[in-house]
Amino acid sequence: MYSDLINVSRYTRVAGTALLLFLAAPYSSGTLKAQSRANASAIPDLNGIWFRSGDGCTPNGVTCPFNVAELPLKARALGFREAFDEPLAPKYDCVPSVVPSLVADPYKVQMEQADDRVVLTYEKDDIIRTVWLDGHGHAPPLVGHFFQQGYSRGWYEEDQLVVETTKFTFDPIGLDDMANLPSSTSKKVTERYWREGDLMTVEVTTEDPLILNAPIQFTWSFALSDEPLYLPYGCDPALSKEALEFLPPKYVDPDFVRITVAPYGEQSRD
């Protein structure tokens, strides 16, 4: 009985503290930090499920989203693309797309804004990106840490959400996943999202000093969708590889890049 009273007392204190924190939340330093680069009126409402607007082009690795022939590619990027063989692309093992290509992938994306983060959930490949806003309180990644989707931080600026993503792992198709253009660990992608009515626009700028001689950019528009996301996407690696046999080998000896695995029972045992 006595212990119960103590517990009640503890619960009361905890509840009281929580209430005070709740009431004080709008004035807390955490919230202010989260908006440190802009005032609250500059925050656009991007919450919702979005799908590319009807006037968007179809990503094709030639002219959309980039005009590949006009990209300021460094010699190593041109050489890499020339040597690359389509079946080597990790997407055929269901490795997800990354920005900048991910933005133009014709699937729905859900945006959820919180005080300290923005979460982008993509229907394609079950991708979830967390954009950490200033003031989230987490330590930044260490110098040796790299991420398949990169590390995204964001802030609000002039009625726009600005997302800056760095620390990507090397990706053999990370600049354009249809044109087989790579991206390095030096890639930086800056996305600027803004909203006009039921239309959301994003300007995507990509820098990669190891791959590009200058930044490249495209703009993409989304319309609000009233359809839910169909999740999980559940990419099936076997289905993803079904078409690979339909592609003529790029090399005279395809085993040069497409390693052969001996049938079971025939492999070396030494």
Binding site: T58, N60, G61, D125, A243, E245, F246, L247, P248
Partner: protein, 135 residues
């Protein structure tokens, strides 16, 4: 089921069809010849309904009597589910006619950008005929 027709048409003779949903990350462009059409009739072996693209396995009898399995690639399951498709959209043993773009590697039997018709004339799917039109 006997191979009713294996007709190759010039691209210019292709029928304009409605655009289809997309799957850009997994393009069909490298794998299929968008300068040709092919049409087959076959019996459904199985339908693997998943992402990034479902595959219909169709048993087709070639003119020389040999039976081969064709793999027909569809738009993503997540797109077809919005149209009410399920894994039971095709039933093993049913006969369908398929028209689309043939696989590029000689000796393979693949097709994409499909129009599939049931014997009663019902069109199961009518896809765009352009490259990367669906996956």
């Amino acid at each position: 089921m006997r191979l009713r027709k294996l007709a190759i048409y010039a691209a210019a003779a292709g029928i304009l069809m409605p655009a289809s949903p997309l799957s850009a990350h997994h393009s069909q462009r490298p794998f299929y010849d968008y300068g040709q059409w092919v049409e087959i009739e076959g019996t459904v072996n199985r339908f693997n309904f998943g992402n990034p693209h479902p595959v219909l396995y169709l048993e087709v009898i070639e003119p020389d009597g040999e039976t081969v399995e064709w793999k027909l690639l569809f738009p993503p399951a997540s797109v077809l589910m919005r149209r009410g498709w399920t894994a039971e959209h095709f039933v093993p043993g049913e006969v369908v006619t398929a028209r689309g773009r043939p696989s590029r590697q000689p000796g393979t039997h693949g097709m994409a950008s499909l129009t599939i018709t049931r014997p009663d004339g019902t069109i199961v799917i009518r896809s765009g005929g352009g490259a990367s039109s669906e996956n």
